[in-house]
Symmetry: D2
Subunit: 427 residues, 4 copies
């Protein structure tokens, strides 16, 4: 598996984008380094994809939008891959149905690594002569691949949890330090007109644009995330058994799916919720770590039980705009990652990293929204119905990937993503 | 069926609310006057309810929240009705599953009319001594029953369309006058901070409150609704066959359900869409009437095809606030009702009545939203996920029922409600 | 509802077939006499049909195969009925899907009675000049309608049970006499070659032909049917909880459908199965009456629990050939009907009437089987996969309808038919 | 992959059963020798199992019923395997759900081979001291594993066909010789009483017992199997489009699944069925080879179209009893296997090997059937509802596995097994 060894280049040769490209590609390889072909191939549910597919699809993106479109004479690695590894770009033609990604017994994992090397080599070879549009697409491709890095972790955790032996993929990380939990405090937010959306200081997806004015009503946000300890109180107080806390669709979901706790939790013999399955297997719940793997329905029900509500996207973004989006618990290298307890302090904490924060805002276009042109324009806009915005990134998001204006989105019943809860209230 | 004959009371006896109560109850009876027991009992799909159920449920509302709670010594008409005719009020206990409403072979339609008379008589008997809270609940009950009047028409249209013989329930109304279609013009809306929500000039549902500030970006609205003629151009241009116009969920819906045109349309032998099924049966499409019975997915795709978008709720409400909400094509009496062509003129037209207008806004709580207290508090808040707001009422909405702040809501795939499209664009 | 009054004819005018036709038609009307239009229209599950449909379909059979095909100049009552009331005769063209029979809000029940009268009158008018083939089809039509008489009772029992109020359609019949239960005794059957199938002494369906030789291995049959009392022992012994008694498909069915007792049984507050829902509503279980409304899976599991097995069709028919097929508990007139306790005696009892008896034999063609010619040839042959044969008729079968060679058939999970169990064993 | 190298033993050490055990185990290994871990792990549909599971399950059988039960002090290879690799033996406790066998990312394929070696070594070590019951179970285990050898080929063919790249697992075998097709001739069978079932000359499954008398009506069987050439005439004659040829359940299946040809067939650009996917990939149809991979519904429809019917099990077995069950086209070694054209000749041919032959007989117990005792008694009896018997083995059945009394069984819609058609008729 020498695929992950990049050639050593003289530092001067590398510009910042190439360096970024190299690091992104290497981290993806690293996340999958321990996988057998079988572990990289099986699909545990229609929402999840096999690691093999992620490895190839993120490569297909560079091959298609950079090499095919901007490097004359480029010869595709394999003509069938355009069909196999397109995700949902209708403009790019027919593609393998999402629920059939688990049938990719071929190409082998080894072939997929060869594909990655081939494309990487061609990108690097062509580097000096790439037009500006191609470099923009490489930047987009890096951000795109970072999204798939988090998806790889989400999907592998789900796969190992679903597999009969539940063998962890990563070795156990050291025990997390005990911290004294801090009481939740309310931090009043600003009121009146407020700007939100891409501030044009760096890369942003089309859905973050244009920057525009919104209006903030009087409100306050919790200074930290909801913890596992608090969530267990919600459970013990019958939160999952009382319809009054739940949206109508959420209540139907809880009952039909027999939901009783966050995904990946389990009980001991005395029926107390005590453990959580992570990328390194079963471990005791860290009670002061933020709760994760809860659906919007659960987040919303918890907030109602707590006499609060979820923040709107504008409220969250207003609070986060002046925080450092690169500080926090993020993914820095391959290995098991976990949400970590808050260490207390003044003001709002845990905004970036830790866990994605459900907002009460539907994922909708901003005023004057224009999708990107070309096939990459299918990236965000066509998902703007039925989903809710999540903000801030998680412990499994590559550091540097998110910003205050970043908009993640999931359906309200989904919960294999690393999503948690920050409370808000109207003043 | 003498149930619908109200006793003649001296005018002085009636206060405005009692008069309103009497008229609302009489219109509901009138809408169902031609139904056989079978036609009032069959359920054509899980989303729809039998007329018998609507007749009884709207009565149950008054019996439960007014008579049971505020009239001492009231004896329920039938103890089983609390179970049979509760819709979704969890706080009121167990209830008949929605999809089983079509199994209500008993009580007979005749018994249901007797139930209506019994409750009406008790309300009137108690009238002089009702506390203020009861009168408020009667007002709420009247608005509630008006909603069910429109549902009765929606559900009966769907039932007769779904039944093998498609026999119309209402006699054909006279042919609509031919009008010269007016070209669509854009009317620029206001920009900057704007108030929206209940203006406290009359009754409003909890979801319309509180009135609050929002911010309007530069935009314009179409001066009239999209017509059947225009929609047919969308069809003929391949609108239903090209993924690029559709949201991802919408495209999956179009393909799995094989959607090719609005609900209730049919083709002639030359494959041209020429007829529509209404409450009075099949009739030629009135080409300049507003299109109706389209889903959010279709409305959104049409707007994209037309190079425009759907209005936000705030944009629509801002435009509508100074229009007369009681003028327009509304339901005034029992009988077949239809959308009518626009007669042209200056400024924005067809805002109230005609057809419900899909907005791009998800149905979400307003800042500071508080559900009403008690079981009636389940009225709106618990539906705040996954649905979109519609504004303005339709030809099947009782006149006087809607206002600028009124928020109707449906799932994006639903289309048996009388929903159409007004275009908008960002400036 | 004067539809059910037949004109009085001079006895000499009636030949035996016309007399039979009149009596069959009148009994069908009688079974439905108490139904409202709603009760005759609603469909409680895809397997069941509304009474309105049975009333019309049995009439359509005479109209199509007798009047249309053999009476020149016959004008159909209504051109749409050929589509509405064909059941499954592919050769007769398109037809209403079975699961949509519950959408027949029109024609009204009154129209359906008028249809019956119209067809009956035309049959009688043409009587003297009908060709022999038409008379044969009338005989077939009478047998066909008798089958629908039992289906009407099955379907109405299911409908009233499924409806929220569970209001019975027939008045309670007098309490059944207490009998001393007789112990089950084994009666040895004959061994070696045996004839089975239509003995050509009267009417028979194509599936009963040709008469042919089969070979009987040493065996014995129980002298009476399994009773409710015995079935309750099976339940109390954990019969529904132990996989060892069940076929693999049956065990999957029991678990997925959470089956714990025969259809129509319910428990008291001490969790003891004590009541059964019949055509006259809920009543205490008659413990010595034969169990009914059990599936093949349950019958087979019971037999295994009892250390026995189900009889083969040949074993049953061999035993029954010399019994009087018209004696026993059958349907004689409209009203509530029930299985009755065995009164004891010598030899095999309860073979005809009481409850249908599940056999271990799949419904397969006899050697040399030829379907009837024409559309009526679709009557039986095309159902010869996946179903099991039942023999002997039930308390809801019209007296005179069955014979030893009669073959009824249902899928192994179906149990709304009146089916019970006779045990057998190999010697 | 040295797992498949068995130690060389002196010939005198081996008794016949041990020799058989060694050969069976080695053939299974050989069939899977080319598989990657991914190819051995993915499950292409709920009916099929991954090769990894077959490899381990056939081993679990020996470990459980021989080593655990009859070798004192045996230590299981891995305690979790009893759960993972039990198939359907309820008496053996909880087990992995069939549809979840595709989640077996662990144990790795390498571990599964180690498991096989471990169990094989323990069997061989214990050989001299095994009690007679254990040797019987080893014989049963060999027959059981032979069944799984055919299942492995069925499942791998389905997996590679379902996978996006359809890469064959075995290399192309030489082109089959052209033969002159022989016209189908009818061979009259015997009539009157006939013996069938296990003749006690060797191993048999419980479902083949007891030998018993049945009665044969006058009939004839086709002297050879239906060919691809003939099946194509059925297609071209509209066989899949005309309800009159089909059982009712079959017609519903054809329409809902849009079946137009046998599984694994495809059309050329002129819409003519010309190719078939085999274990070695796509190849031109061998027109005179027997058709395979057809369902019971298709077989039955074809027979009706051809003016014939399917044979009963007794008719088939009577004809086959005096043929050599080891001659014919069978599986002899690992590699691609195919049905081969008939070479003509006198009398009935192709009875054994080639393709399984659907019979018209439901899979039912023989008179006096007793399941084997213990958990292995779940082997056959519990599948005796809803399935049809197939006789004679196929090109993928290990040579020596079948005999005249052998009863295979599948549901009427299943067709991934190698099943074809022999016609029969009543005289």
């Amino acid at each position: 598996m020498t695929a992950k060894k990049l050639p050593v280049l003289a530092p001067g040769v590398l510009d910042a984008l190439l360096d970024r490209f190299n690091r992104v590609r290497a981290l993806t390889d690293g996340l999958c380094a321990s996988l057998s072909d079988a572990e990289a191939t099986v699909q545990s549910m229609p929402d999840a994809s096999p690691a093999k597919w992620h490895l190839a699809h993120s490569t297909w993106f560079f091959e298609t939008f950079v090499l095919r479109d901007h490097v004359s004479g480029y010869k595709p690695f394999d003509a069938s891959y355009a069909y196999l590894f397109n995700s949902y770009y209708e403009a790019e033609g027919e593609r393998l149905a999402r629920a059939s990604r688990g049938l990719l017994i071929r190409p082998s994992l080894e072939n997929v690594y060869a594909y990655r090397q081939y494309v990487d080599a061609h990108i690097r070879d062509a580097w000096g002569s790439l037009p500006q549009r191609a470099r923009e697409l490489i930047e987009l491709g890096c951000h795109h691949e970072e999204q798939h890095q988090e998806l790889i972790l989400m999907d592998l955790q789900h796969l190992t949890y679903s597999s009969p032996l539940q063998a962890p993929l990563f070795v156990r990380t050291p025990t997390q330090p005990v911290v004294v939990p801090s009481p939740l405090r309310w931090v009043v937010g600003r009121e009146g007109p407020a700007e939100m959306g891409d501030d044009a200081k760096g890369f942003a997806f089309d859905s973050e644009r244009p920057r525009h004015t919104t209006w903030l009503s009087p409100h306050a946000l919790a200074d930290r995330l909801v913890t596992n300890r608090e969530w267990r109180q919600f459970i013990e107080d019958g939160g999952y058994q009382q319809s009054k806390y739940w949206l109508s669709d959420g209540w139907a979901w809880v009952r039909s799916q027999q939901i009783e706790a966050p995904l990946y939790w389990r009980r001991d013999e005395e029926d107390r919720w005590v453990q959580r399955f992570g990328l390194d297997g079963w471990a005791d719940l860290v009670l002061d770590a933020p709760v994760t793997n809860v659906s919007y329905y659960e987040a919303d029900a918890y907030a109602r039980w707590a006499g609060a509500r979820l923040p709107t996207e504008a409220e969250w973004e207003s609070a986060a705009q002046h925080h450092n989006a690169q500080a926090g618990v993020f993914l820095d290298k391959a290995g098991a990652v976990h949400p970590m307890p808050d260490h207390g302090g003044q003001g709002i904490r845990q905004l970036f990293g830790d866990v994605w924060e459900w907002t009460a805002s539907a994922f909708s276009p901003y005023p004057g929204f224009q999708p990107a042109t070309g096939a990459v324009g299918e990236y965000n806009g066509k998902f703007m119905s039925g989903q809710f915005v999540l903000k801030g990134g998680s412990f499994a998001t590559p550091r540097g990937h998110v910003r205050a204006s970043y908009r993640n989105f999931f359906y309200p019943q989904q919960r294999w993503q690393f999503a948690g809860v920050r409370l808000a209230r109207s003043q």
